[in-house]
Assembly symmetry: C2
Homo-oligomer: 320 residues x 2
Amino acid sequence: MSSLTLGVDVGGTKVLGIVLRDGVVVDSHRVATPHDDQRPAGDATTEAVYAVINELRARHDHDDLVVGVGLPGMMSREGVLAFAPNLPTASGADVATALAAYDPQLRVLCENDADCAAVAEHRLGAGRGYDDMIMITLGTGIGGGIISQGELLRGRSGFAGEVGHMVVDAAGPRCPCGSRGCWERFASGGGVGRLAREAASAGRLPLLVAQCGDAESVRGEDVTRAAAAGVEEAIAVMDEVGWWLALGLANLTAILDTGHFVIGGGLSEASQLLLPSAQRHLESLVEGSSARPPITVVKSQFGEISGAIGAALLARERLG
Amino acid sequence: MSSLTLGVDVGGTKVLGIVLRDGVVVDSHRVATPHDDQRPAGDATTEAVYAVINELRARHDHDDLVVGVGLPGMMSREGVLAFAPNLPTASGADVATALAAYDPQLRVLCENDADCAAVAEHRLGAGRGYDDMIMITLGTGIGGGIISQGELLRGRSGFAGEVGHMVVDAAGPRCPCGSRGCWERFASGGGVGRLAREAASAGRLPLLVAQCGDAESVRGEDVTRAAAAGVEEAIAVMDEVGWWLALGLANLTAILDTGHFVIGGGLSEASQLLLPSAQRHLESLVEGSSARPPITVVKSQFGEISGAIGAALLARERLG
């Protein structure tokens, strides 16, 4: 018998659970994220999380269990998902308390998903050895987790790290959060789609438009795939995304003077194109660049699984 | 006989020194800031700082002296003013080392001016009682000092808090730092001047244009003065400035989840108009506003003297 540590990451499309043993992922299970807006906030989400937990704990003998859950949006220090523009059906949910209704014995810790990813990369991955680093997850939106002097920077209510909603273009496109021109309208997976349609409409993607039928049909994935295959017009759009990524990193550098960025999330799959582009633009965008030591921008080690790993690590760290 | 603590703040127009005793300013002296670009970086600045120190220490009997110096720009942890877009003649200067050439006995600590102001307000002023707060100084540019868990957040090289160079309008006006659309192009004293000329040219300041002769002659001071006197067209421009101020505060809130902002610097003299406007706009600009506890935006207690006070406090804290 032994102790069991689970990490569950709730994303826009899937709920992914992992078993972490001695810093190694030894098992995993996933289900589709429910988007049920007929029930109270987070009920469907909690059900899915509980299903994943049950599946994994049944597979592994244990006499002690802790579960960490990563959720997308503003997580309060009390564990409430206070605002979730990219998962509105879970906005307002208190998943840990809701899980206790299923099983009062369950020890659960909830934290923002990108904060979890930051902890995973800092403790075990691409941020090891850095006292200060920022994790950036490029998915539907942009998540952020700030490690300052070795610890997660949480802020007054626990909401720190919502970097995707930093406005970088005051008159820019509307964001589900209510503002205009948020960083995540440009440098996320969703941003690639938007910039791709813009480029297609402006006649800058003739090959892709011919292939997809019309400008409206060009999706972000078409651009990342074509860019990876070396199609010049698609590479140009990815470089534009890289520029916007660098702009946000430059802002974070001005504010926090962090020298190390770890980039994860779905879009980081395109990192071979994106990261060198961002690194190059960063040099010209950051204030007093020549007076600073080099800034490193690296791909996350754990990719899409980093949130779940970090949730597991945080649960062990905080719940013992 | 006793110990003497001096704080010196180097601004764009004046070098201000104060004597701090038991948290109270008991004396001060100021000289004009020299802008001599014929000599090596910072030589003229150092000379002026030394003149202020000499004047003040001659006035007060003491057997122990520490001096804190606040400088505008990117201050390294080693005390070098690595980059100073708003005081180019001092860019690259190591003022503490240069002062040692005048007097090897002198114990000097140099820090960024807004960082100093943050410490002053946090320890003794409008930020007392807050573990986390951000000081914003609205002068020629925008300076920032971040207090996190009671301590100054310095970052890797000591450059943290350069919030004025956060880009908020990617296609916006050029900044001396090299970028476009930095926050300080909009919400600083310089920003008021720029927005005033823009409004005048667009026909939104007919009374002021008539008074000043032409649109080009309308300065920021004209707008702040007219707004204070209740002139509607000027109040509208100040409200625009307040909107931009709020935008930057909203970005900082998203990133750091700080709930308390202290606003200082020359432009804060217009705070009776500016702060209520910023506070009102902040509510609609900050992500998940309704899920957050109220955010407070208050005027600095020490005004233009806060940098000098904080420099003195930091010198005592760090040099003993």
